[in-house]
């Protein structure tokens, strides 16, 4: 006799609604949850806390990450049933085996950590190439099947992770009933500029919620929110890989879920490469602009913004001086404005474009990409994106050089600023986004 994973699962899925365009998530999709993984889930059973760990070739760091997570769980939640689920994107360095090898159970009674009960670490391979969207979907499916009350997703390369992070992300959900916990970090003022200059202010202005890190590799969510997101349409539309994390945050906002922020600690500094900007834009700004269309009924009615409850000392800014190649930024900005003129003519309003052309040739000392111009730029991009004046992906790519210009201005303005001044500058930018929201609304409605 054998456990037929599939036949056990079909009873869990409600039948497909006939003739609808929207299909509910079919768990028996051929390649989605493997039989073996399902069997492992059956053995784990219902849990209270679930930790998701998407990996790809992380053998160097994964052991200590998992052990840190384990001690975090055992310290803060020794009596709760917990599981660590590794969604692996085709590692070839033995990452999954390392994860399952340090599972805490009675088969391997050699763990150094003292545990009241079994703490499974299980692993599944969701594909042969890494795709964060599929990894997250796997984790959500597992959380749904195991009826986890609180779930967190952790980043497998965080060298700065501490065991308290588990508690900081889980406790608001488990004890205080929140649905989404986004982190805040201590990071350098020149890092995360896309977040501070675009994503945070724009989401704040449009959706009315002040989430400092709406796109993040580490966050916590309740089982309720996870199941809601899992069952939403949108997994099969081919763009499921890009920016799922952002769409998750937006789904929490539009669904009226309770959101809070929790200060974790120092953010892992990932190796920086110039080629990362366009993929970053694709994963964040692209999904954001796409979401504006379907979320229009929500954000069109919101005015102002509300802070979310925050635990810990709030985001912290490190002020140590860091080298950034300003000349290059300025060059790329002005080259972009010059070379992409034909594209910008289709996207931007004439006045905005003229203004950009005016500041492009300015020297380093005089160069300034003021907040208001930047906000107008972004909003016009959003409106053009929605109307698909050119291919949407090209719209996103075209934003890259302009962002560089804005980043340069931000760096210059904050070169000698104190932590508080940096925060004030960001706040000022946010208010500018909020102030010009009617402009976006007007553009949105004009050519509909």
């Amino acid at each position: 006799m054998t456990l037929d994973g599939r036949s056990a699962v079909t009873s869990l899925v409600s039948p497909r609604r006939a003739g609808g365009i929207h299909t509910e998530l079919k768990l028996e999709d051929e390649t989605f949850l493997t039989d073996d993984f399902l069997r492992q889930l059956i053995n784990v059973g219902e849990v209270d806390i679930l930790v998701g760990l998407p990996t790809h070739n992380n053998a160097k760091t994964i052991r200590s990450i998992v052990q840190t997570i384990q001690s975090g769980i055992l310290q803060a939640f020794p009596r709760e049933r917990a599981v660590i689920i590794n969604a692996d994107g085709g590692s070839r360095d033995g990452t999954p085996e390392l994860v399952t090898g340090i599972s805490i159970d009675d088969v391997r009674p050699t763990s150094n950590l003292y545990a009241l009960r079994t703490l499974h670490s299980i692993s599944t391979k969701y594909g042969s190439t890494p795709a964060t969207g599929v990894a997250l979907r796997t984790i959500l499916a597992a959380a749904d099947l195991l009826r986890a009350k609180a779930c967190i997703v952790m980043f497998p390369e965080s060298a700065t992770i501490e065991s308290e992070w588990v508690s900081k992300l889980v406790r608001p959900i488990y004890r205080d009933g929140f649905d989404l916990v986004t982190p805040t970090y201590r990071r350098h003022k020149s890092e995360g500029l896309l977040l501070t200059n675009l994503l945070y202010p724009m989401i704040r202005a449009l959706y009315g919620v002040r989430i400092r890190e709406p796109y993040t590799a580490e966050f916590g969510f309740s089982g309720r929110l996870g199941s809601h997101f899992l069952n939403q349409n949108g997994w099969n539309d081919g763009t499921s890989g890009a920016g799922v994390e952002l769409r998750f945050t937006l789904a929490a906002i539009t669904g009226g879920y309770r959101i809070c922020q929790s200060f974790l600690g120092e953010k892992e500094r990932v190796e920086r490469r110039g080629a990362d900007l366009v993929p970053a834009l694709r994963q964040t700004v692209g999904p954001l602009f796409s979401a504006l269309e379907s979320d229009f009924p929500v954000w069109s009615l919101v005015t102002g913004s509300q802070p979310v409850p925050t635990t810990g000392n709030g985001p912290e800014v490190l002020l140590e001086p860091m080298r950034v190649n300003r000349k290059r930024l300025r060059e790329m900005f002005s080259n972009g404005v010059a070379e992409l003129n034909s594209v910008f003519q289709l996207i931007l309003s004439p006045s905005t474009l003229a203004e950009l052309q005016r500041i492009a040739p300015l020297g380093e000392d005089e160069f300034r990409y003021p907040a208001e111009l930047w906000v107008r730029t972004v909003y016009e991009f959003a409106a053009s994106f929605q109307k698909s004046v050119i291919s949407r992906d090209h719209t996103i790519q075209a934003l890259a050089p302009l962002f560089r210009g804005r980043a340069l201005t931000f760096l210059i303005e904050n070169r000698n600023a104190s932590a508080k001044e940096v925060e004030d500058n960001i706040e000022g930018l946010c208010l500018e986004f909020e102030r010009l929201k009617p402009y976006l609304l007007q553009m949105w409605k004009s050519r509909e």
Binding site: V107, L116, R117, T118
Partner: protein
């Protein structure tokens, strides 16, 4: 039916722990006695027990329920005479039931003539039979056992103006085992009872016999030496009698009490018991398998003794702080239930009177390696009365019927040695032997059934144990094997239905026969063996190859 003469009878025994005081009263004074106990031997025989362990019945001021002994060679007047005891002993043997009695070696009552002599003056010949000191500072490293009542291991004697040593209550002074006269006398006590025909002794508080400065005064080599000596003499003059050690220690520390098969025959496996309860609440077999994994091998002639509850509190000494807090929160929400680092409740109330859990725990008791001990009243699911002080809440009169005094005694209810349980759930009108005998599916009948099945194969009592570690951690599964007999035990520790796949590849080709209904289950093939179990359900399978 005469008692079988197998020297290792204690391995196959099913032991029934009973206190003569609260079992059955024959003379109407409200206190149980030996004649009354004798009258109930048929009940015990029918239940299927093969040995009775009697709690202390020697003369005593009863300040510790008989563990404070005032005369080692007599029977307390409330329970009858030596003659009565002898007669009871013979009746038991006729039914094939052996009798194990308690012997408190470590200390006597302060009312014992020996102590009264010893304290009368510092020059008395018996002075040295106890441990005296002018100061309280000796043996500082020794822990206090009865934390809730005692503040020190030394007590002041106003008569001889010095301190005497007591590991338990202050009215129980410790005997001085460095004195050869004491050792000689205690052997004579044992011999007295062995000559009468008693089959074995439970030796109380054996780790504490000898004290030495700079140690914790437990498990010392001198203690083991004394015990080995007693064993040697018993083997010489009374072969086939059994010595059972009461030593609440970690398994590694318990191991020396078996010696090389030349010390104790049996010892209680104290650390396992709270972990069984813990595993049940956690719905995780980890605590149970871990402690058994840490349990050392014992000599082939020795046997562990397993129990779920006894007359004492459910002790949480041998668990970590986290585990203790967990057990308190899960099983003893009210502070009144907690005593001396333990929980003073009976089996049924601990398990919320849940018949399935009671069956599961008994199933594990009967199938894990060791001789099972049933505490009187647990076979019908008796309740407890925690408002009675100390540990008396679990020592209430046996409930025989729904009638007068529950059939325990014809005396006036106010004269009973302890009040009967009266609440609507556990009270004697609801829970009693008579009504359970009438009911086909009562707990009593179920206990009879499972005892009979346990006795039907030597794999349980003498077989090896091999744990299976299925990925589903809520399932505790193991194989018991003796010669060519193999039994598979699968327990579902969780409150919800479970599916489990077992790796039975070494047993491929065997047909499984479920032992309660004797129905055949599918044969073991190449693939993992799938079983589904309801909440708290367990299976015993005999593996048979045709």
């Amino acid at each position: 039916m005469p008692v079988n003469t197998d020297a290792l009878w204690y391995k196959d025994a099913i032991i029934y722990q009973v206190h003569v005081r609260t079992f059955h009263d024959s003379n109407g004074d409200g206190i149980g006695d030996f004649q009354g106990l004798e009258q109930k031997l048929d009940y015990l025989h029918e239940l299927g027990v093969s040995a009775i362990w009697l709690m202390p019945f020697f003369p005593s001021p009863l300040r510790d329920d008989g563990y404070d002994i005032a005369d080692y060679n007599a029977v307390h007047s409330s329970y009858g005479t030596l003659e009565d005891f002898h007669k009871f002993l013979d009746s038991a043997h006729q039914r094939g039931i052996r009798v194990i009695i308690e012997l408190v070696l470590n200390h006597t009552s302060d009312q014992h003539p020996w102590f009264q002599e010893a304290q009368s003056s510092q020059n008395n010949p018996r002075r040295d039979w106890y441990v005296w000191s002018d100061t309280e500072i000796r043996y500082q490293a020794a822990r206090i056992i009865f934390l809730d009542t005692e503040k020190s291991n030394w007590a002041w004697d106003p008569i001889s103006k010095s301190f005497y040593w007591h590991r338990f209550f202050s009215h129980q002074p410790d005997l001085n085992y460095d004195n050869p006269a004491v050792r000689e006398q205690m052997w004579n006590v044992m011999k007295f009872w062995l000559e009468m025909g008693v089959d074995g002794f439970r030796l109380d508080a054996v780790p504490y016999l000898v004290e030495r400065e700079g140690t914790n005064c437990e498990n010392l080599p001198e203690t083991h030496h004394i015990l080995k000596e007693l064993r040697r003499k018993a083997d010489e003059q009374f072969p086939g009698r059994m010595l059972l050690a009461e030593a609440n220690q970690w398994p590694a520390d318990l191991r020396p009490y078996f010696g090389d098969g030349d010390e104790f025959h049996m010892a209680f496996h104290f650390p396992l018991m709270p972990r069984m309860f813990m595993g049940l609440k956690l719905e995780d077999r980890k605590p149970i398998t871990e402690i058994l994994h840490q349990t050392p091998e014992i000599p082939p002639s020795c046997q562990w003794s397993l129990f779920l509850r006894n007359h004492d509190e459910l002790t949480l000494e041998m668990v970590t702080d986290i585990e203790r807090d967990y057990m308190y929160d899960m099983y003893a929400e009210s502070k009144m239930m907690r005593l001396n680092l333990g929980i003073r409740r009976r089996l049924a109330p601990l398990l919320n009177n849940d018949r399935r859990r009671i069956e599961l725990m008994n199933g594990m008791l009967m199938s894990l390696p060791g001789t099972p001990i049933i505490y009187y009243g647990d076979e019908i699911g008796m309740g407890d009365n925690i408002s009675l002080g100390d540990r008396n809440g679990v020592r209430t009169p046996m409930q025989w019927s729904g009638g007068w005094n529950s059939g325990f005694s014809v005396a006036e209810p106010e004269r009973l040695c302890a009040p009967l349980i009266q609440d609507p759930v556990y009270g004697y009108p609801a829970v009693n032997v008579l009504s359970q005998k009438e009911s086909e599916h009562s707990l009593l009948h179920w206990m009879q059934r499972i005892i009979a099945i346990r006795r039907s194969t030597g794999a349980f009592s003498r077989g090896s144990i091999d744990f299976l570690y299925p990925a589903n951690h809520r399932i505790l599964a193991y194989l018991r094997q003796l010669g060519r007999e193999t039994v598979l035990v699968v327990n579902n520790l969780s409150s919800t239905a479970q599916a489990v796949e077992l790796d039975l590849r070494p047993y491929k080709g065997n047909i499984l026969i479920e032992m309660f209904g004797n129905n055949i289950f599918p044969r073991v093939g190449d693939l993992p063996y799938l079983l589904t179990l309801g909440p708290y359900q367990f299976f015993w399978f005999r593996l048979r190859r045709v």
